[in-house]
C-alpha cells in the first residue's frame, strides 16, 4: 500500500443521502497541493466463494499471487490511481463469498460507486450467481449510480472452461456492463479491470460536473495571458 496514505489527513466524508444510502464519493483537497483533487471511490468485489476475488485484489494492490484462504467478512484495501490530472483513491472492499456471509453483504456494497461481479470461467454456477448479484444491485442502485463490471476470472484454466466467452460478452452487452476476462494467477488483464473502472468513474464524474473538467485548462489559458503572474501557471509536476 502506498506509504504516503498514512500521512493524509483523515478524509472528510460528506454523507450524501441517496435512496437512503450514504454515498461517500467526495472530492478532497490533498494536503500540500492546492489544486489537485483526490476523489474517493468505493469499489466492491462480489461473487461466489473461490472465484478469485481476493486473488484479484491482491494482484492489483500488491502485484502478487499466493494461495489464499476464504475471506472472513470483508477485506479492505486502498489504492491510489492517477488518471490524467486527477488522483483517485480506490477503496476496495473484497467481500467474502461464503454463504454464511450473504446476510451481511449489503453492509459491504452499500454506497459503492463500482462493483466487480466476479465469476470463475470454469464453473458455470458462479456465472449464474454473478447474474443474481446483478439483479440485487439493480434493485439497490439507480442505473447511473454504480459502475458494474462483469469479470470472468481464471483464464489460465482455459482447458476447463465452462462459460463461453461469447455468452458472457453477450450478456454484459445486453445489460450494458463493462466486461473482461482475467487471470489473477498469470496476471492477465487485472490492472486493466481496475483501470477501466477508474476511467468510467472519472468519465461519469465529469459528465455530472461539467464545470469541473475544463477548469484546469481554462485556468492555464488565463495564466498564459497574464505573464505578470507566472507562479499561477497551472503546471503539474
Amino acid at each position: 500500500m502506498d506509504r504516503s496514505l498514512s500521512s493524509l489527513p483523515p478524509p472528510r466524508r460528506k454523507a450524501m443521502l441517496k435512496k437512503n444510502m450514504a454515498s461517500r464519493r467526495t472530492p478532497q483537497q490533498e494536503a500540500g497541493s492546492s489544486t489537485e483533487q483526490t476523489y474517493v471511490y468505493k469499489v466492491v468485489l462480489l461473487g461466489t466463494t473461490a472465484v478469485g476475488k481476493s486473488s484479484l485484489a491482491f494482484r492489483y494492490v500488491k502485484n502478487d499471487f499466493r494461495e489464499s484462504m476464504p475471506t472472513v467478512g470483508c477485506s479492505f484495501f486502498t489504492q491510489l490511481v492517477c488518471l490524467e490530472t486527477t488522483t483517485m483513491k480506490l477503496e476496495i472492499w473484497d467481500t467474502a463469498g461464503q454463504e454464511k456471509y450473504q446476510s451481511v453483504c449489503h453492509l459491504y456494497y452499500r454506497g459503492a460507486n463500482a462493483a466487480l461481479l466476479v465469476y470463475d470461467i470454469t464453473q458455470k454456477a458462479t456465472f449464474a450467481r454473478a447474474k443474481l448479484w446483478l439483479r440485487e444491485l439493480e434493485r439497490e442502485f439507480l442505473h447511473d449510480e454504480i459502475v458494474i463490471v462483469l469479470v470472468g476470472n481464471k483464464t489460465d484454466l482455459a482447458a476447463q472452461r465452462e462459460v463461453p466467452l461469447e455468452e458472457a460478452e453477450e450478456f454484459a452487452k445486453s445489460k450494458s456492463l463493462i466486461f473482461m476476462e482475467t487471470s489473477a494467477k498469470s496476471n492477465h488483464r487485472v490492472t486493466e479491470v481496475f483501470m477501466a473502472v477508474a476511467c468510467e468513474l472519472l468519465k461519469r464524474e465529469r459528465q455530472k460536473e461539467p464545470t469541473h473538467q475544463p477548469q484546469p485548462w481554462k485556468k492555464s489559458c488565463v495564466d498564459l495571458q497574464e505573464p505578470s503572474n507566472p507562479a499561477k501557471r497551472c503546471c503539474r509536476s
Binding site: S6, P10, R13, T49, S54, A57, F58, V61, K62, S68, M69, P70, T71, V72, G73, C74, S75, F76, F77, I92, D94, A96, Q98, E99, K100, Y101, V104, L107, Y108
Partner: protein
C-alpha cells in the same frame, strides 16, 4: 485423540474431526441411531462408557455434539471440549440464527453455512488438547514489563471512537493487552473463552494477513445471539502483531480503521513493535529463571476466573525430557487427569500429590491461583513443597510481568446514562451494558 462429531437433531452430519463426513458415513449411521435414542424420552443419555472408550453427548439447541475418546480426559473435560466446539460455531453463526434455521427447515444441511470452517474447528480441538490456557480457563499472555504493557494499554485507551467496546492487542496468539469499554458491566467482562475463540478464528486463517478485515463476529459467552463488528489488522509486515477492535456499530468501519491508524502511529513513535518482538523472542520463562532446582514442566498458576479479571496464564518452556511432542502430549494428558480430579463435581480437591510412572505431579488450587507442576519421580514430598514455595515466591515477584492483572478501560460513549442505544451488540436485547 478424541473423535468429535457434530450432528443436527435430524441426524445430518455437520462436522467431524478427522476425515470428511461422507467417508465416515458408517460411523455416522451409528451416531444417528444413538442420537435418536438420546432424544427419546426425557432421560437423555449423557455418556456411555465401554472398556476402553468414553462416549460423551452434549445437546445444545438443535445441535448434538458427540465425543468418542480413549484418553485420560474426564467426561467433564470432554463435555467442555464439545462446548468449545459449539461456542466456536456460535461465534460464526449466533444461536438465534441456528435456532431459526432449524425451525424453518428441520433437515437443513448446516454444512452449507459452515463450509470452510472445518479448519477452524480442527485447530480449536488441537488447541484445547495442547494449550494449558484452555484447561485453566485463561488466556496465555505475553510476558512484558508492566511499564511497557501499561504504555500499550494507554495507547489503546486513546485511540477510541463511539461504540468501540473492546480493543485487543495480540502477538502470536498471546495477549499483550485488552482494553474494554467502561460501561460493560462486571459480569460481562471479556471472557477467556470468547478470547480463545476469537484468537483461534484469527489464527486459523491467513485471510487476515491481507488488507483490513471487517467482519461480524459473535462472542457467545458475552452474548450468544448478538454480533459485534470486528476490525482485524496486522500491524507488522511479518504478521505477528495483530490489533482487534470490536465495535457494536456495523457502520463504524472508517472510524475504527482510523483508530488503527492512530494506534499504528503511536506505536511507531514509541517503538512498540521492537518491544513486542523482543518480548516474543525471549522465552516465556524457564525453570532456570525461577532458580529452583526442580524438574522442568511446571504449569504456573492462572489468575482466578472468579475474580472476574481477564485471566491469563503464562507457561514455562518445556525442557529436558519434555522436548518431544509425544512427551509434551503425555504430560498434558496427565495434567488433564489432575485437573479432572481437582475439579471433580462429586469430590473436589484442593491439592493432589500424584506419583505417576515417570514423574511425580502436584496440583494445587486456591482462591487465588491454580497450579500444576511436575517433578522428577525421585522427589520427596517435602522437596516438592519446598520447590513450590520458591516458585510461588518468584511468580509473586514477577506477577506484573507475567499476568495482566488490571485490564485498562475507556469510555467511548460521551454521555453514559443518556439512553442512546449506542453500546449494544447488534440485534441483542441483552441489557448487558450498564447505564445504557
Amino acid at each position: 485423540r478424541a473423535m468429535v462429531f457434530v450432528l443436527s437433531e435430524a441426524g445430518k452430519p455437520i462436522y467431524s474431526r478427522y476425515g470428511n463426513e461422507e467417508a465416515l458415513s458408517s460411523t455416522m449411521g451409528v451416531m444417528m441411531a444413538l442420537v435418536s435414542f438420546i432424544q427419546s424420552g426425557d432421560n437423555a443419555i449423557r455418556s456411555i462408557y465401554s472398556d476402553d472408550r468414553k462416549l460423551v453427548f452434549v445437546q445444545q439447541g438443535p445441535l448434538v455434539l458427540v465425543s468418542v475418546s480413549r484418553t485420560l480426559q474426564s467426561e467433564q473435560q470432554l463435555r467442555q471440549e464439545l462446548l468449545y466446539v459449539y461456542y466456536q460455531i456460535l461465534s460464526m453463526l449466533t444461536q438465534v440464527s441456528i435456532t431459526r434455521i432449524f425451525e424453518r427447515k428441520k433437515n437443513y444441511d448446516l454444512r452449507r453455512l459452515l463450509a470452510g470452517s472445518e479448519k477452524i474447528l480442527d485447530r480449536l480441538l488441537n488447541l484445547v488438547e495442547s494449550d494449558p490456557g484452555f484447561l485453566l480457563g485463561a488466556v496465555r499472555c505475553l510476558p512484558l514489563p508492566a511499564s511497557q504493557r501499561d504504555a500499550l494499554g494507554a495507547l489503546l485507551q486513546k485511540a477510541i471512537t463511539p461504540n468501540l467496546v473492546f480493543s485487543i492487542l495480540v502477538a502470536q496468539s498471546q495477549l499483550v493487552t485488552a482494553v474494554q469499554e467502561r460501561a460493560v458491566i462486571e459480569e460481562c467482562r471479556l471472557e477467556p473463552t470468547d478470547l480463545h475463540l476469537l484468537l483461534n478464528l484469527i489464527g486459523a486463517s491467513s485471510a487476515f494477513q491481507a488488507g483490513e478485515i471487517w467482519t461480524p463476529i459473535c462472542l457467545p459467552r458475552f452474548n450468544p445471539d448478538g454480533y459485534f463488528y470486528a476490525y482485524i489488522s496486522y500491524l507488522d509486515a511479518e504478521c505477528t502483531v495483530c490489533l482487534v477492535l470490536l465495535s457494536t456499530d456495523k457502520e463504524s468501519f472508517y472510524a475504527v480503521s482510523d483508530c488503527k491508524k492512530r494506534v499504528e502511529e503511536a506505536m511507531r513513535t514509541q517503538g512498540s513493535l521492537q518491544v513486542l518482538s523482543g518480548g516474543l523472542q525471549s522465552p516465556s520463562y524457564s525453570v532456570g529463571q525461577v532458580g529452583v532446582p526442580g524438574y522442568p514442566g511446571e504449569l504456573p498458576p492462572a489468575a482466578p476466573v472468579h475474580q472476574r479479571q481477564l485471566s491469563s496464564s503464562p507457561s514455562p518452556e518445556l525442557e529436558g525430557p519434555y522436548c518431544s511432542e509425544e512427551e509434551q502430549q503425555r504430560l498434558f494428558d496427565l495434567y488433564h487427569y489432575l485437573h479432572s480430579r481437582i475439579h471433580s463435581t462429586s469430590r473436589p480437591l484442593r491439592l493432589i500429590y500424584h506419583v505417576a510412572e515417570k514423574e511425580t505431579l502436584l496440583a494445587w488450587v486456591t482462591s487465588k491461583f491454580e497450579l500444576y507442576t511436575c517433578f522428577s519421580p525421585l522427589v520427596t514430598k517435602a522437596g516438592a513443597i519446598n520447590v513450590l514455595t520458591k516458585l510461588l515466591r518468584w511468580i509473586k515477584k514477577e506477577e506484573d510481568r507475567l499476568f495482566i492483572r488490571y485490564p485498562p478501560k475507556y469510555s467511548t460513549t460521551p454521555n453514559p446514562g443518556k439512553g442512546t442505544k449506542g453500546g449494544r451488540p447488534d440485534g441483542a436485547e441483552n441489557g448487558f451494558f450498564a447505564g445504557l
